[in-house]
């Protein structure tokens, strides 16, 4: 079964599952199986922002005054964020668009991925503004061992799913001998399992890995340092909160069986593996915290506190998708993070300060002469 960019079959897309049904043909939103995804699209569009709106001139001065080990923390964190958004800016498109079957979900995936590209552009904006030679920083992302270890763990599930879907689209079902990879079995349950684990690992990326990096960015801003950077990270955090709601909806819809009964069986079978994905990610993030603070801590944050936050946020996120908490940590060791994460006071332009998600240029058509009664010339 090969992918078609415009499926010629006539079918009712509201009867299709989210994934692995018919390829989408008409991008229509008049009838929807899961209207939540269109609501997410609307919300995401209302969040639109550009990195250039945020002034970073003070951050440059702040950065030069940071101690060497603090510069290491700041730059390593930024490199990690760059890596995460490089993956997220393309992977939902590459992995999920060939197998999606609902127009509203297809458009949500594209909207979601697009917003990640804004994040990637904002890292370049930050790095350009604080250092003279951005090349050194970007080049290190593919050579630094600590960063590439992270890259392996965030891309492994995506890559496996993409590989399996490629084989499925060219060869169909069966067991195939792939040079360099050995024998790979392609069946619908195997494909669905690879998909479910991918969505779970994306949820972990957005719900845990990103938040660990946000904690580091905001720790500087708590000391009134790198505040332009924190303003950008606030905008990114607002987007990420929405994205992780998107993946939580996908996971919960799959697990409930309301979307695709076969998926519910697979979700139940995968529960232990998903648990393991959460726990492994938490352990990797704790290791990362040790690397960040290897040359020294900063006021308000050290490897131990960040590690506790990793455990705390992992517990919270596991319970949100119906898993039991794994770690003993019950309290947020950095409660000040909420004040930075809260999105409704993200200030882009003064006139937008009160409501960060509003319709730009909305016109009111129900205007008549009486509306001008108060005017005197």
């Amino acid at each position: 079964m090969s992918y078609s960019t415009f499926n010629r079959k006539q079918f009712d897309s509201t009867k299709e599952p989210m994934f692995f049904g018919e390829n989408v043909n008409v991008a229509r939103y008049d009838q929807q199986k899961h209207p939540i995804f269109e609501k997410l699209i609307e919300k995401q569009l209302s969040f639109f922002w550009r990195p250039e709106e945020v002034d970073l001139s003070t951050d440059r001065k702040d950065f030069q005054r940071l101690e060497a080990h603090e510069q290491h923390i700041f730059l390593s964190n930024l490199k990690y964020q760059t890596l995460l958004d490089s993956v997220q800016g393309r992977s939902p498109n590459v992995a999920l668009l060939p197998i999606v079957s609902l127009p509203e979900l297809e458009t949500w995936i594209e909207t979601w991925s697009f917003s990640e590209t804004i994040h990637s552009r904002s890292y370049t904006h930050i790095i350009r503004n604080i250092v003279n030679d951005p090349t050194k920083i970007f080049d290190d992302i593919v050579t630094n061992e600590e960063i590439t270890k992270r890259a392996d763990s965030v891309s492994i599930y995506y890559d496996r799913l993409i590989e399996m879907v490629n084989i499925y689209n060219t060869m169909g079902m069966g067991t195939f001998d792939i040079p360099g990879k050995g024998s790979i079995e392609i069946s619908m349950p195997k494909l669905k399992k690879a998909l479910y684990l991918t969505i779970a690992s994306v949820n972990v990326l957005e719900a845990i890995r990103f938040y660990v990096s946000f904690a580091c960015s905001f720790a500087f801003a708590e000391r009134t340092l790198m505040e332009g950077n924190a303003k950008i990270i606030k905008l990114i955090a607002r987007d990420e909160a929405l994205h992780l709601t998107g993946t939580q909806h996908m996971l919960n819809l799959m697990a409930s069986g309301k979307d695709d009964p076969e998926m519910a069986i697979i979700a139940a079978e995968c529960q232990d593996e998903v648990r393991q994905i959460f726990i492994e990610a938490a352990e990797q993030e704790k290791e990362w915290a040790t690397y960040l603070f290897k040359d020294g801590s900063m006021i308000g944050l050290n490897a131990q506190i960040l590690g506790q936050y990793v455990e705390y946020i992992t517990n919270v996120r596991m319970q949100t998708v119906g898993l039991d908490a794994h770690f003993a940590t019950k309290h947020n060791p950095i409660p000040w993070i909420n004040a930075w994460l809260v999105s409704d006071n993200v200030q882009v332009a003064p006139q937008e300060a009160e409501i960060s998600s509003y319709l730009v240029g909305q016109t009111d058509n129900s205007l008549d002469d009486s509306d001008f009664d108060d005017f005197d010339l």
Binding site: I36, K39, L40, K43, A237, R238, A241, L242, L244, T245, Q248, H249, N252, N315, V316, Q319, T320, G322, D324, A325, K330, N332, P335, N338, L341, V342, S343, D344
Partner: protein, 98 residues
């Protein structure tokens, strides 16, 4: 004048509900979402978006009723409530994540 203010007070008194949280009891009204009123009572609740899409303020609802003036974008699991936009409609008992 006196009678008007009395009526206003008694109207409000009718809307007051008890929120049980462990051994604590907090009185809340239907005027504002639960999150704000818990914070006013000095209880720390996790939050991020405060408008129903991030699910950070998800709390266990052990019994009682809440309603949402608008349907939240976040997935609300059965047996849970979203504190940032839930209006308490009866006496309730809540619990944080384990």
């Amino acid at each position: 004048m006196t009678s008007i203010s009395k009526t206003a007070t008694s109207d409000k008194a009718e809307q007051v509900h008890r929120v049980l949280l462990g051994k604590k009891q907090i009185l809340v009204t239907e005027d504002e979402p639960l999150l704000v009123q818990l914070e006013q009572a000095g209880i720390h609740v996790e939050y991020q978006c405060r408008e129903g899409y991030c699910s950070s303020c998800s709390i266990k609802l052990l019994w009682g009723n809440v309603s949402y003036p608008f349907e939240p974008l976040a997935w609300v699991q059965s047996g849970y409530l979203l504190a940032c936009c839930a209006i308490v409609k009866s006496d309730i008992e809540i619990a944080f994540f384990d």
